[in-house]
Symmetry: C2
Subunit: 308 residues, 2 copies
């Protein structure tokens, strides 16, 4: 984790930590929001992608990298490849917005649009053709280590946290956070936050059996639709991680709190941990709580029609 | 200024400074945004009010403080009085929103609603009755010194700025910024940013004659409607401060940039400096530019109907 932090340091922001006296009064606790919405490419994904791409051996790097993504991971890998000065292809689902495609091309990457059901297959076929290295969004130890640097920075600033709450999609961020916490703050409890609509991680941890991804998942937390990865399942199971789930309305309410009270734009996935905190507010009194707010890339279409 | 900084330090945030690689590429310069939207009460006004209230002699303080405000200054004085544990009355224009009134009461202050035309008169009458000390929003040297601490922090973090752009309403912030700059960075140029709709400061500096406030001013930058103060006129005249004006649409566009690209919610007044930078973009190439983003208290009613 320290190695990852050193490797990516020059290329990612040390993001600010913000607090709310109002929220702290409501909860009777101290909450520290680590805002990865202010990260390069607008999300923590820059950390893992930069670490993975900069960790490649020169021979592999020379053949470029490839990723598939409908969201932040694609932009992050494109950004990372630009830093290393190597080729990058991002395979995206047909129908991706022009804004997203342009953002990825803006980092110098090529894009390829395919039917959503063919994302993985097309990516691997292309990688076999070109020799490019596939950068998985979470089943990748260098990606996980990079994501863990967000929690590391938060723990450097606030070493006495009792709890750390992070969202769960594929599980890269929470896996990295658990590893950071184990090294830096062994008494810290890491809690996962997951939308009810995509609760495969919750059910996997409940049953002890890795559950399949939710079919055709639908949540406004569009960064959390992936099924829990194998590596994350192993790490979370070993850590006996508690997972809190919440409704779509609870996610919107939390997003509005960030917008109205914290003056920050966060994507719904980034609001999920605050929604989780509200569900367990009886258990956090007197505690110091860290939260990773994962990103800020949203068109705000989830806002109620009159924002405030 | 150093004394003000020490006095208020425990009660205000050292706000984060954020940058945008995209904007820097567009301008060919390095822009550092000091986000006072993340300040206590959501605006830089906390700095001046805390400095003024904590600077009162005990005898004066014991009779409480009074302010009139339709916006951030009222909340700031209420917040400051709460810190000192003294009484506070905020005189507000009838029709102020319940959100604003509740915020001020939430800090423990009393509120009094009067017709907008009677704000000043009612405040002074009440002060005469109660012996409370009137805290002017900008014609007050302790307030000016407090506001100057925002520029001071920015210059501590980035000592080599060439330019600093701040909005002008009554002129407290720019006056304090000029004083900070004179002490810390004598080669720094401070530029004022003012909406075309409320351009009395621009005309005052152009003509060398202190112009009267604009009658019934109308701008979405509702924090900048006050006429330029006497003290500010003197300071800006002595410093030969350049003032840049911009249209309402240009302010909205700048506000959208903060929302969409910087992932921050800023009030229109806080977006005015970026709008100014865009007007002088030909003159800032290769330069390091600081910007004070003054606050984040907005209902976002200025957003185009479809935000992004």
């Amino acid at each position: 984790m320290q190695a990852a932090a050193r490797l990516i340091e020059a290329h990612v922001h040390r993001t600010p930590v913000l607090t709310s006296a109002t929220l702290d009064r409501q909860f009777g606790s101290s909450v520290f929001f680590k805002y990865e919405s202010f990260q390069k490419v607008g999300a923590f994904k820059a950390r893992g992608a930069v670490n993975a791409v900069l960790s490649l051996e020169d021979g592999d790097a020379s053949r470029g990298v490839i990723a598939h993504s409908s969201g932040n991971h694609g932009a992050a890998v494109a950004y990372a490849a630009g830093i290393r000065g190597i080729g990058c292809m991002v395979v995206m689902p047909a129908g991706s917005s022009a804004v997203k495609i342009d953002a990825i091309r803006g980092y110098g990457a090529e894009t390829m649009l395919v039917d959503r059901s063919l994302l993985s297959e097309s990516t691997h076929a292309r990688a076999a053709e070109t020799g490019a290295t596939f950068i998985h969004p979470y089943e990748h130890l260098d990606v996980i280590a990079g994501q863990g640097t967000a929690a590391m920075e938060l723990l450097e600033d606030h070493p006495n946290l009792d709890l750390l709450v992070v969202p769960i999609g594929g599980g890269g961020l929470i896996s990295g956070s658990i590893v950071s916490a184990a090294a830096m703050a062994p008494n810290l409890t890491v809690i996962g936050a997951e939308p009810e609509q995509v609760d495969d991680a919750f059910r996997s941890l409940q049953t002890g059996i890795h559950q399949p991804p939710v079919t055709a998942p639908l949540s406004i937390a569009d960064g959390l639709l992936a099924g829990l990865g194998e590596k994350a399942f192993d790490i979370l199971s070993a850590a006996q991680t508690e997972i809190v789930t919440m409704s779509e309305d609870e996610i919107v309410d939390a997003g509005l709190f960030h917008l109205q009270r914290m003056k920050t734009v966060v994507e719904p996935s980034g609001a999920v941990p605050l929604a989780a905190l509200r569900k367990i507010s009886g258990d956090i009194q007197g505690k110091k709580v860290g939260v990773v707010v994962t990103g800020g890339n949203t068109d705000l279409a989830w806002l109620p029609s009159r924002p405030v």
